[in-house]
Symmetry: C2
Subunit: 650 residues, 2 copies
């Protein structure tokens, strides 16, 4: 049997293959994954490759037709005139009759890489659990009286190696009509190589999915093209559950006090998501029935309410969730307005206070794949802290209280228009500059948008800037030796620093940071710090290679200010990343690549959950961590920013 | 290690077992299946056995307490005073400390046998796919923060060896409340050892199921206790689809002509079944939420309409069904008013005209387990014919036309009040006696219920009796040499025999059997005969050991008259069974024993479907089979009943 050499570029992989075999077969033997939705019958046009004869000089290549089978008219149907001229072929139709060199364009690869548009660039392999397969069936005859379903399943097995397929009941009523609609040519939408969840007459290979980041405050939804991984549109809205309580604790209490509370909050979340779906579809002109999967990541309370499960038990110690395992639930069970046969995937939970949102952050950051020791902090009502690398991961939940989300803070508010999201205090003049959500410019230079209150990132900035300006000392007390008209005691004797005067605010009151606010932030940040230190202690490590700051409250957290505050142990600034809402990224990753779900499930199984210790050692740690940045631990990285070390300020 | 002998009665099986092991463990080692819902912790009281010390004389048995561990108070809670006195024990609590003889009462066996109440006595092993398992969970603690679901699943795995359980979404919203309701004691309803489909607080081990025989004309529903196999109630109703067409062909045509026809017929069937469920529950005082499974058997058209699948393609050659595989569909998908998490099981189909009802007949009759060569005829609009034994099964569908269901027959009607279901014609006087549905007595002796028409069984009787009385000859022609005022030509010259005079009928017209009616019956019966002969020919057999006549039209078919008619090859009468509606029996068997479903699925896979041959040989066969009983084939069994052989009649 005659054999020929085929070299694939840019992989630079070569194989000797028997004469007459196709380029697609050659690629498969090498493990090069080329798209082929039709199963190699020249029908889908996905396996386009370019023949580059002379490029590899050691080959003795003459004219193309002698080394490949002649191009067929059905191949040409799938190509532009330019592609035909530049020697493109369908890999499945080109038989090898001599040595050839071919180039595989990125668009023909089975697993495409896309860059996730978000605060952090993330490289995603596109490998969704939903795929649409086109098949041409032979019609029934007196000799072949198989059922329509058996006919379809056999073809999917023969061509696409999909064995033991099940089917959604909702496919059955449309089955006889859909298979006959386009002369026994159909596209079957298959979930996880297991279930036929939709059927279209003719060729319909476009599938869409939605990733939802279901936050306590904000719900964000990303509409993605599952074939390509492209994100077509993003919409977000306030979580309407806010009407029943600003944070998860008040919402749990609402559910406890109101018999139909859980149902109400469930409905509120579902309605809001349905509204987002409608907006996404309207903008992109995509039919909501073509949305074949959804991933929803949220904290444990959001997860439970989304599923109409009472969060009551999570409100009391020992805070047990109803379940932790990952779920796949039909969209119609939840009355979500996407294809009724679509599945909604919910990543696993770790505990009552470490939820799918945290798992999403972990699969976005992938510490479990890396040598570097990671410390990941996801700030919210609780701070979830993860420490580890590919050897081991530990996590804990630090009860920060809602200070970083604006509650318990005199002028705290959520990240909405008018919220101060960034603060700089001039160490000489002691005057503040503010960035306000809704404005591109700094206040008070621009007063187009007037401040209403402080967002989470602004609170961190505020306390850290007061410290750097010497307006508070390391114990957090206001330092009245620094003279400023903004620093004074009010009529009740409460010390405060004014960020914006009443006349400039939209609320007609001075927006201040009070001594009490600073105390709240100290308690919160000490809890986070101790959480991280406790996990480091458990792992027996003294140093962190990479710190990841996640959390969606206003702008990205200023990493320098977070370090000045002492939110985590000292670390050079170039090893700290502030990544914003990584849980939304994680949800999209899980939507676009089913292997990320496996990773999520492995993490949930393997990560070790450390309970906050009541050991006196940690109580002592906590008291020391109340200082800004810390009473004992060294903070060389920010040392020169602190007034005691640098009297001139920055 | 000391060992002791335990003898189990009535099995008469003995084992030597280590001291301290329980009787339950001893039984399990011997493969004796004893019920134990609690997993052997003394909580369910199901493993009751009786200790019979002296009964086996070779044993040296002293007083009981020395040979078994002392009876515990929790055991006594599960026993009557009489049981305690007569040495009953819970097998799981009785440790062996000496040789013992124990008797296992039938009620403690895992697989109970019940007798199916129906026309034919059938022995059923009770082994339903639905089982309720009681477990006691340990509550969560700071050291054990598993989710409620994981807690439950782990316990079910530890105690009942149920691995990798999935769960119905509908269980999740009730989960936290149900597990806490009765102090972490719950009963989980498990489907097929695979899925938690309902959860009850406390002990709730009663599960119910419904088997539905979904006939073209009649729908029958059987409410059964799944633990015991007992049938608690049976209800039936006319299939309301009759409003859209008497037979399947007219219903298919209705669906073709009316865009919403399929949906209308689907709804009609679902509503009728829901009505039956309501009646069954009302009568037995059982909550419909405690009905955890349903089996529905019907012909292919009924099956498709039940599932809201258009039967249109089955209306034209090659008659392909939408699917053939067995299905499990959630009750709520079909809006059936039983537990929404319950599954509805539909047995597989064989073809467009051989449906789940026929499979049900086969699993009721079990020819595949027997040496004897069977011929099974299920009479309806089509006759489905099966021939074979445990070596091989063949089947075919004979297009009889609707004659046996009363259509195409002058006074044919369905089996309802007033229908003639049995006929005897006196060979001397040539006067008929009629059994009419709704009356216990024979007409015309009793005229309480007046006849309205002829049911299927009456049609077979009528033609056979005319033949035995010499009123028609073997060619089916009326024989005017037999003088009777009932035999004459009407004003249009059509020959007829009067069964009931106009004055005695409720329709005020003579009820007759016409020459045309006899021709219709001849065509129908010849098709059945040839179907059977064709299959015998294929198998190369000349003789049948057992003939089963199934079909629900009025009374049971009279087997002698069926033979006189020549519906099937000659066979001694004691080898013919007329079993009535065997498909309802099959549906109940599939409900009560999941192994019967496997059998159904194996049959569907293995049975060979023979298409009616267009071979001239069979055309010739068909013409010969038109004669009554047959033109050529011998009918020794009924020979003496035929007038040409026995001029004096019977």
């Amino acid at each position: 049997m005659k054999k020929h050499r085929v070299l694939f570029l840019p992989d630079n992989k070569e194989i000797k293959i028997a004469e007459g075999k196709t380029l697609l077969e050659a690629a498969r033997k090498l493990g090069i994954e080329i798209q082929s939705i039709c199963g190699g019958i020249g029908a889908c046009g996905k396996c386009l490759i370019q023949v580059r004869e002379g490029e590899y000089s050691s080959y003795d290549l003459n004219s193309r037709p002698e080394h490949l089978s002649t191009i067929q008219s059905m191949e040409e149907e799938h190509m532009s005139p330019k592609e035909i001229k530049t020697n493109y072929r369908l890999a499945c139709m080109a038989g090898v009759y001599g040595d050839v060199v071919v180039h595989i364009p990125e668009s023909s690869r089975l697993y495409k890489h896309v860059i996730l548009e978000s605060g952090r660039e993330r490289d995603i392999i596109v490998n969704p659990s939903i795929q649409s397969f086109y098949v041409e069936l032979s019609p029934p005859s007196l000799q072949d009286q198989r059922g329509d379903l058996e006919r379809l399943a056999q073809k999917l097995q023969d061509i696409h190696k999909l064995n033991d397929l099940e089917e959604d009941y909702q496919v059955l009523p449309k089955l006889p009509c859909r298979v006959r609609k386009d002369g026994w040519k159909v596209s079957a939408v298959i979930w996880d190589d297991k279930e036929i969840c939709e059927l279209y007459g003719g060729k319909n290979l476009d599938t869409y999915g939605i990733a939802v980041d279901l936050g306590t405050t904000t719900i964000a939804a990303y509409l993605c093209e599952l074939n390509t991984g492209n994100c077509l549109s993003v919409k977000s809205t306030l979580n309407p559950q806010i009407d029943y309580g600003e944070d998860v604790i008040t919402r749990i209490n609402y559910c406890i006090k109101n018999r139909k509370g859980t149902k109400q909050l469930h409905k509120a979340a579902i309605n809001a998501i349905n509204q987002l779906i409608e907006e996404l579809c309207a903008e992109t002109n995509i039919n909501n029935n073509n949305i074949h999967e959804m991933v929803v990541a949220g904290n444990t309370i959001m997860h439970h309410l989304f599923l109409n499960i009472s969060p009551d038990p999570i409100g009391h110690s020992p805070f047990p969730p109803a379940l932790k395992k990952p779920l796949n639930i039909k969209a119609r069970e939840l009355e979500l307005k996407i294809n009724p046969g679509a599945y909604v995937y919910l990543p696993p939970l770790l505990s009552g206070y470490i939820g799918a949102d945290n798992i999403a952050v972990i699969i976005a950051e992938e510490p479990y794949l890396k040598e570097e020791m990671h410390l990941i902090i996801d700030l919210g009502t609780n701070a979830e802290v993860v420490v580890g690398n590919k050897e081991k991961l530990l996590c804990t939940s630090s009860p920060t209280g809602p200070a970083f989300e604006g509650a318990n803070i005199s002028f705290g508010m959520r990240a909405a228009e008018g919220a101060i999201e960034k603060i700089i205090i001039d160490p000489e003049t002691l005057e503040p500059s503010l960035r306000i959500i809704g404005s591109e410019k700094w206040f008070p230079e621009s007063k187009k948008i007037r401040p209403r209150g402080l967002a989470g990132s602004g609170i961190i900035d505020g306390v850290a800037e007061l410290r750097k300006a010497g307006l508070i000392d390391s114990s957090g007390r206001f330092n009245f030796s620094r003279e400023s008209k903004r620093l004074f005691k009010d009529e009740k004797g409460h010390s405060q620093y004014v960020l914006a005067w009443a006349k400039d605010t939209s609320i007609k009151r001075d927006i201040v940071i009070s001594q009490q606010d600073i105390r709240s932030v100290q308690l919160a940040k000490a809890a986070v710090y101790v959480g991280g230190r406790m996990l480091m202690e458990q792992l027996g490590i003294k140093e962190i290679d990479r710190i990841i700051l996640a959390g969606a409250f206003g702008n990205y957290i200023d990493k320098e200010n977070a370090l000045v505050l002492g939110l985590f142990p000292d670390c050079p600034l170039n090893r700290i990343d502030s990544v914003g809402n990584a849980s939304g990224d994680g949800a999209r990753l899980a939507l676009l690549n089913k292997d990320k779900r496996k990773e999520a499930e492995e993490i949930a199984r393997d990560i070790q959950h450390i309970e906050k210790s009541s050991d006196p050692y940690f109580q002592e740690e906590f008291f020391q961590a109340l200082a800004i940045p810390h009473a004992e631990d060294p903070f060389p990285t920010v040392e020169k920013l602190l007034p005691e070390n640098n009297r001139k300020g920055k």
